[in-house]
Structures are given as C-alpha cells and as structure tokens.
C-alpha cells in the first residue's frame, strides 16, 4: 500500500457488500414477489436485474428483498417499491429484467415513477 488513495479505492469497492449488513438506512425498499407463482412467471431474473443495476450505479439507499405472494398471481412477476420515508408504495406488474433496469434508472435514481408498468396502467 503506497498511498491513501489506494486504500480508499479498496474501501469503496468493498463497502457495497458490507453496507448491506445494516438495517434501516434504505430510502427505497424493493420487494420482488417470490412465491411459487412469481418464480414460475420469471421473478428470478427480475430480482437479479434489480441487484445488478443497483450495484452498477452504486446505489446505497436501496434495499432489495423478496416477499411472498401478494395475491395477484395473474400479474406476476410483481415488484413493489416502497418509499421508507413516507411509506408510499408503487406496485409494478408483469415485470421483466429490461423493465427492472428502467425502474432503477427512472424511479430509484431520478424519482420518476414508471407509470406504464404500474398495476393501475395494466388492469
């Protein structure tokens, strides 16, 4: 180790991983429905796309987790984005990996809900 910058570089890289191990700091909680119906409809690539895209952008304020069936199986894969500050919730339906990337970019980074993917626009 020849400089503080080198140390800083290692720290930034490793921080993503360790940062996950604390509770309660996330601004957004992304919940992917991972019951049998969700998995069968393709929730797994959606979940992975969220994780990868959030990592690529170095988002520290997002917690990505799974949840069980929320009862609207015909719309799976279902993803809920919860704003932990005010408790508001946006429900995205019939998600794909490509759609997930857009939700990360538009919603999580820029704060614009992708209305066309929401349950309101699809039912």
């Amino acid at each position: 180790m020849k400089s503080l910058a080198e140390l800083q570089a290692i720290r930034d890289k490793a921080r993503m991983q360790v940062g996950l191990r604390s509770e309660g700091n996330a601004e957004f909680r992304v919940q992917v429905g991972m019951a049998t119906c969700g998995i069968a409809a393709g929730a797994r690539p959606v979940l992975n796309a969220f994780v990868e895209e959030a990592a690529k952008r170095g988002l520290q304020n997002v917690m990505i987790t799974q949840t069980g069936c929320i009862g609207i199986c015909q719309f799976e894969p279902v993803v809920e984005v919860i704003n932990t500050k005010d408790g508001s919730k946006v429900t995205y339906v019939k998600m794909t990996a490509e759609k997930a990337v857009r939700v990360v970019n538009d919603h999580l980074v820029n704060g614009n809900v992708v209305t066309e993917f929401t349950i309101g626009a699809n039912s």
Binding site: S3, L4, Q17, V18, E23, L47, V51, A54, T65
Partner: protein, 596 residues
C-alpha cells in the same frame, strides 16, 4: 454484487456447537437452488449472544436466527433465501413483534443497552477478508496517523481520551505510551497481551476471532507513536481459531503493504509476529509475558525498571491488552472528546464483559462504563434463571472479588469496583445464585492460583497454598474462628509481599467473600453447616417421612446402597454410608429428599 448476506457466527462458542457444519450445508443448499451468485455466506466473529448459538443473521432483512441446527438449513434456504419468507420458528423470540414483523436486534433487551466500540466489527465482517475490514474504515486511522499527525500528537490524543488499560489494572494508556516514547533506544517494541487466562473470560478471544485487523492496525499506530518497528502478539495456544485468523490477518496486511516496509510511502516500517503461550496464567503478567517472549521460563521480574524503560530484550516496550487495542483506532478516527463523551469521568469509554454462570443470556456484552451491575445482570443478561435469586457476581477472575446483591446498583467503572473490594479485571463476570457457597467459591479460585503460581517468590508460592489449606479445613468442618482471623492476616501479608500481581491479587476472592459473606464462613465453622448445601462434608441428605411414598426409586438409584426401606414405607438414608452424590434427590418424584 450479492442481494443477500447470510452471516454465520464463527466464534469459538458457535463453532463448538456446529456452526462449521451449518456453513457447509448452507453453501451446498444455496448451490442446489442456484443462488450462489445472489447470496453471500459470511463467517463472522462472535455476536455476543452465545447462549443462543449457533447464530445466523440474514441481511438485508436483519432476521436473527438462533440455535440453528444443520437440519434447519434446507428450510432457511428454500423459504427465506429463495422465497423470501422468514422462518419464524427459528427467530430469536425477542425480535418477533407480531405475526408479520420482526424488530431490529438493537431493540432487544440484550442489545439495547449495549454500546459496541471494541466489538463493533464482531458479527459484522468476515475476519478472514481484509477488504471487509477496510470497508468499515479499517486502516484509515493508520493512514491518518502516518500522513497527518506527529508521534506526539498521537500520544496526546490517546492521553486526552482518558483510555485506561482494559486488561484489568486500568493504567492510563496514553501515559504508558509517553513514557516509552520519552526513552531513547535503538530498538523499541510494541506488544499485545492476548494471554487471556481468567476463568470465564473470553472477550479478547472474541475480538481476535471477529476483528483481528483492529489489533494489528492499533499496534502499528502505537509503533509510530513511540518509535518502534517491531510488534509481538503473545497469544495462548489454546485459542486455535484466534491464532489462525491472526496469522491470516498478518499475512494479508503484508500483502497489502499495511505491515512491513515503507507503509503508505511514508518511510514508516512496522512488523508484527505471533508468540504462542503454553497456557501459564502468570504469563498474562506483563514482565512474565516479556520473559516468555524472550524464550525463557515465564516468570515475573521485579519492577522497576518498568517495561517502558527496560522491557522486552531490555528495550523500551509497551504492552496493552487486546481490548485496549480495539479502542485505539476509534479514538484516532473520532477524537478524544467523542471517547470522553461515553462512560464516566474517570473511566471513559466502554467495557466488554463475558457474562457467565447462573444467567439467562450467557455471552459477551459491551456497555458504557457507569452502567449498573443491575442493568447488566437483570436487563441485558435476562436475570437469574429457574426461579433462583441473585446472590453475587464475581468479577476479575482469580484476582477479583465478589459483588453482593446489596451492591447491585453500583455504577461499574475501575474506581467504583476497587472501592468495594472487587476489581474490573479483564472483564469476566460470573453470576452466582442462591445455590452457590461463597466459601467454596473462594476455594475454587484459590485452587486456581495455587496451580498457577509460578513459584518464584515465597509469599505467593507458600502463602496461597496455606490459604487453600485453611479453606479446606473450614469446608471440611474442622475450622476454628482463629483460622478465619489467621487467614485474613495471611491475605494482607500476601497482598503486600508478593512479587507480581498474581500473588498480590490472589487473596481478593477470600477477602471479598469474607467482607460480604462472613456469616457463611461462621456457619461453616461454628454450626458445621454449609448454608447453600455445597460443601459435602457439612451436608446431609435426609428423607422427609411425610412426603416419602416408599416408591423405592431412590434406593434403587443409590450407588452405595445407603438407602433402606420397604415398599410403601418411608425410606431412610444411612448418613455414614452416604457419599452425598445427590442421585436420590434428582430421582425423587415427590421432593421428599432434602439437603440439611
């Protein structure tokens, strides 16, 4: 990037209850479900709640699973990691709020009153991966010290923080460093005392197992402050996991150039090597420890000269305990004022205690100095189990004393404990309930010091043995009141005349039990009676004829045939034959057998 981290405790406690197997099963199951790219399994250090081990925590949800068995693993993987449904039945019940929610671990009684500084990374990072330590600001303090501060400034910060040695004596750390810095020499040394030997104490082990790099970093900081280029960690060989992780940490630090030559390009050289102790208790004493590192028989030597002047290999040396080291980096990063804001005026900061004995939550706790004993025992520790009542807490191991129930509200810090005849010690805290005999406890610790006395000085070598003989005489029912007086006198003689702290503190268990539980000693001597029913020579088992139904179960279980009686007729114990093993009492279904 993983979406989930599964932390499994790899401390000694959980390892001995199979956490290694759990980790293997976990990896296997995760692979079977094709989740290996999404879920990261991390073996961490101790979480502290050893009573509930093996422990597993799943993030980001923060689900705290306790007493996990290898056979629970498939369910956790399939339900939680794959489908996102937390396995409620395995959760630590204190974290379950209602059917749908779990509350944060930090809100549970065990963790709520804790403040983790020395243990901050234990149970958070993987101790075998240096990158994880760096991620939580590891080696940042060393970088700051080497690039922004002069050695004198480092010493000033540590001095101003008021940090006192956590090994037990509570000597101001900054002062120690300034002595060593002031002495000129061609070579100086920085040592770490990891020869944790008090029965029941395991805080140093847990820090070394859970966060080994913090010790390396702090030692390098001290090396810079006093002008030393070589460090030694003296660790007992009975801590195999800690030794392994320390060595791994040293190797990784070398690889990154955080130990070795020209650290951070500043021209500062520092290296650390391990020395394994063979388990002699006296080697935890600073001069004996250094003698042992030199390759000689581990015996203490007279002070002065103090190690800061002539220590290891006759060179200026500082020696600090593991827990002390674990505080140093945080003081450098956050400043002396921050550290002073925690704890009490004369004992700033926190202290780690190893809670053991008759307490619900056996484990490791770190609390601000000034926390009361009652808070530690009743709130954090969950109180005394099985309906028994608190009788005393023993702190400081064989060098410490017993704190009785009447002192439960004492605010724990170095000076308060010393004022009531106990001692902070390294932080072992053994809780005793009403089934403990205080004379027997004193005898237990004396047996330990008799075994561990190195034999160099007469007061300790002979004195501890004479003390033990008197205690044996008392517990076997042959003691006289004069014995108690002679014993007390001998205690003070030992305190004043022994060469090192081992002998000087060896009488503490006797003195403090005499101070608070003299009535028990008198009961043993005058009434030939052990109030707690522990001392076998003074205890008789008797059958209450009112309660005995004559079921013959006790007679059939007595190993020496001391119980006689026929079916449906109350039985009788022949006290001459009885060996007082207690088997009859355990078997009796009618509570008819009593100790008297």
């Amino acid at each position: 990037m993983y979406r989930s981290n599964v932390l499994v405790c790899g401390g000694t406690g959980c390892t001995s209850s199979n956490s290694e197997v759990i980790i293997e099963r976990l990896k296997e199951e995760i692979k079977n479900h094709g989740l290996e790219k999404e879920v990261n399994v991390v073996r961490t250090g101790c979480f502290g709640l050893c009573a509930l081990g093996p422990i597993m925590v799943v993030y980001p949800e923060g689900a705290f699973y306790s007493m996990v068995k290898p056979d629970d693993v498939p369910e956790i993987v399939e339900e939680h990691l794959l489908k996102g449904r937390i396995v409620k039945r395995l959760l630590y019940q204190e974290t379950v709020v209602d059917d749908n929610a779990i509350k944060s671990l930090n809100e549970t009684p065990f963790y709520a009153k804790q403040r983790r500084i020395a243990l901050r990374n234990c149970g958070v990072i993987n101790p075998e991966v240096i990158d994880e330590y760096i991620a939580v600001d590891g080696y940042k303090a060393l970088g700051k010290v080497l690039t922004e501060m002069t050695p004198q400034e480092v010493i000033d910060v540590v001095k101003a923080s008021g940090l006192r040695g956590r090994g037990g004596a509570g000597f101001p750390t900054g002062l120690k460093w300034s002595f060593a810095a002031a002495n000129q020499a061609d070579q100086k040394y920085v040592c770490c005392n990891a020869d944790e030997g008090d029965p029941g104490a395991f805080m140093d082990r847990s820090i070394l197992e859970g966060d080994p790099h913090v010790v390396l970093e702090s030692m390098a900081i001290a090396g810079y402050a006093i002008g030393a280029s070589q460090g030694y960690i003296y660790i007992r060989a009975e801590y195999p996991i800690a030794v392994k992780r320390l060595q791994k940490a040293i190797d990784q630090a070398h690889e990154y150039g955080l130990l070795g030559k020209d650290i951070f390009g500043t021209g500062f050289d520092f290296d650390i090597s391990l020395r394994l102790g063979a388990g002699a208790f006296v080697c935890g004493e600073e001069t004996a420890l250094m003698t042992s590192i030199e390759g000689k028989r581990g015996e203490p030597r007279p002070r002065p000269p103090f190690p800061a002047l002539k220590g290891l290999f006759q060179k200026p040396t500082i020696l600090n305990n593991v827990e002390t080291w674990a505080n140093v980096t945080q003081i450098i990063l956050n400043g002396a004022d921050w550290f002073r804001s925690i704890g009490t005026e004369r004992s700033p900061g926190t202290k780690v205690f190893a809670l053991g004995g008759k307490i619900k939550h056996t484990g490791l706790v770190e609390v601000p100095m000034g926390t009361t004993l009652r808070e530690i025992v009743e709130e954090i520790g969950g109180g005394v189990p099985d309906g028994h009542t608190f009788k005393a807490a023993q702190t400081g191991g064989p060098s410490g004393g017993c704190i009785p129930a009447s002192e439960l509200d004492i605010k724990i810090d170095f000076d308060n404990l010393a004022s009531i005849g106990a001692m902070m010690g390294s932080g072992g805290m053994i809780v005793m309930d009403d089934t403990a005999c205080m004379v027997d406890i004193a005898k237990f610790f004396l047996e330990f010091t008799v075994d561990e006395s190195c034999g160099k000085c007469t007061p300790c070598r002979v004195g501890t043995r004479r003390l033990l003989e008197i205690l044996n005489k008392i517990t076997s029912g042959n003691g006289t009141m004069e014995d108690i007086d002679r014993m007390e006198e001998l205690c003070y003689y030992l305190k004043e005349n022994s060469l090192c702290a081992l002998g000087q503190t060896a009488p503490n268990p006797v003195l403090s039990t005499l101070k608070y539980f003299r009535d028990e000693y008198i009961a043993h001597v005058k009434d030939k009676h052990c109030p707690a029913g522990v001392c076998k020579a003074l205890t008789n088992y008797v059958i209450d004829p009112q309660k005995c139904r004559g079921c013959t179960l006790c007679a059939r279980n007595c190993p020496v045939g001391a119980i006689s009686g026929s079916v449906k007729v109350p039985h009788v114990i022949d006290t001459k034959k009885c060996i007082k093993c207690g088997a009859c009492m355990e078997k009796c279904k009618f509570n008819a057998i009593e100790k008297k």
